[in-house]
Subunit: 266 residues, 2 copies
């Protein structure tokens, strides 16, 4: 099972939109996929039509070790499951403050999921912070995808994000690698997008070959700004369901192909 | 002194861009303004050209009650000061976990600032979360401005945000009022923006007249999407400095006028 955290502490860069459409696209291409919604906003759940009224089993119960992931997931399409997020997740930082090993709770749950269910992918949507929820995701997966808006403020936080990943690799999860960068909300025509993409390519080309992001790939498929992607969220559907011919579906469709092409040889 | 928290737990909706350009516009219009950067990303500081290398006094020192706001602020323009943010703020939730009254540390510092310096406005840029930093902002100010992108996911979190504000009003800060909603990243030609704006107006019209947001004003000035606003951040300047004739400067200029027109009678 490939386990991938989709993260970036910068807000509004396309984490949820990428997690949802990548998960749906991989499932449509025949992979068995589980999406884990680690964000208290629970936007990935909402985007796939999962309403989780209070009392519905959610990731909050998993983080307090009351339920297993396999008993919390809901099936939303053929080969596609969602473990719903919950607003109470926002309190986890305080609730786990005294717990030994609070940073590896999700890892235990993911290991159990992997041994219990035949899955090809597990994608984790992260909140816009580097707090205990995101650290749990980094400690529990083997790959990181970083959605990035080609704007100055979004690029500025990248080194802090990579530093945090390196820290987790050293202390909590030796296998962790940053494997992909997804350029989102890309406005073709602006100089800013072109300049930032060049800066980005230069940054990775000059990385220390031993860094956990040394082999990160900037995906060729750039996700162009396309209002249909924002509309699809309001209908609780992936872009492939909502408008399969629009730019958003074309771009995420290409990304799915690139991710499949990058699957490790088994 | 008018004290305003610019907040929304949804990421990337224009909090920093609004705080910076509103602060700069109010200062240019003759008001004395202090911007407090409560976000560990320290993007407001960066956007106004304040680099705060490790060791520079920042809001982190103020939250640990080692320094006063007046000794931490840096002047960046005539009548405009910035209290820099710092990446260490991300650890405050854990560091203050045992502290009695951890939610009102910033209030004490703001009260001291008010009695010590002749200021007309204090604007607080908040991180994309409802954690202890944002609660400190809500406990310490009298007004809240909510930047909102007219997208489904951004609107969805509004009720949780208002609930949190009401909770703070009941328990920590009786004077707190949601006084303004700023529509940001507005794409004039899209149906989505029109639909969401209508939903928003309906939502506020139907509010309980005793709610802390009952008199909230949806500012007439909508901030259109304009790449110059994103470029200005990279040059460490407000939009008024960077490109005073562009749509971004026109829209934020109108917002400044509306905010001044809303000043309480003294
Ligand atoms: N390529 C795109 N074109 C147009 N709109 C987009 C695109 N990608 C995302 N959006 C919209 O932009 C907003 C931000 O995207 P999204 O919510 O996926 O980002 P995020 O990083 O998950 O945000 P947060 O930090 O709050 O979790 C959403 O309203 C989404 O619908
Ligand atoms: N009206 C606009 N037109 C174009 N770009 C904008 C506009 N407003 C903000 N931006 C850009 O969009 C991105 C998000 O805006 P900003 O960083 O101000 O949001 P935020 O709510 O402060 O984000 P965070 O949740 O990470 O703190 C930034 O790169 C900013 O430069
Ligand atoms: Mg998200
Ligand atoms: Mg910000």
């Amino acid at each position: 099972m490939r386990t991938i955290a989709v993260m970036n502490q910068k807000g509004g860069v396309g984490k949820t939109t990428t997690t949802v459409n990548l998960a749906a696209g991989l499932a449509a291409a025949g992979r068995r996929v589980c999406l884990v919604d680690l964000d208290p906003q629970a936007h990935s759940s909402l985007h796939l039509g999962v309403e989780a009224p209070p009392g519905t089993p959610s990731l909050y119960d998993v983080m307090l070790e009351r339920r297993r992931l396999v008993d919390t997931r809901q099936q939303v399409a053929e080969r596609l499951w969602v473990v719903p997020g919950n607003v109470d997740l926002a309190g986890i930082e305080r609730e786990l403050a005294e717990t030994e090993g609070r940073e590896t709770v999700l890892r235990g749950a993911l290991d159990e999921l992997e041994s219990g269910c035949p899955l090809d992918y597990c994608l984790v949507d992260c909140p816009p912070s580097l707090g205990v929820l995101t650290i749990n995701a980094l400690a529990g997966v083997r790959e990181v995808f970083i959605p990035l808006q080609p704007h100055f403020l979004a690029l500025q936080g990248l080194s802090k994000l990579l530093e945090t990943t390196a820290l987790v690799t050293r202390r909590l999860n030796r296998d962790l690698r940053v494997s992909g960068i997804v350029l989102c909300l890309f406005e073709t025509g602006t100089r800013l997008a072109a300049d930032i993409s060049d800066d980005l390519a230069g940054f990775f080309a000059a990385s220390d070959p031993h860094a956990p992001w040394a082999n990160a790939k900037i995906f060729e498929s750039r996700i162009r700004r396309n209002i249909r992607l924002a509309e699809a969220a309001g209908f609780g559907r992936s872009i492939f369901d909502y408008d399969p011919a629009c730019n958003g579906a074309v771009d995420y469709g290409r990304l799915v192909e690139e991710v499949i092409a990058g699957e490790p040889e088994v």
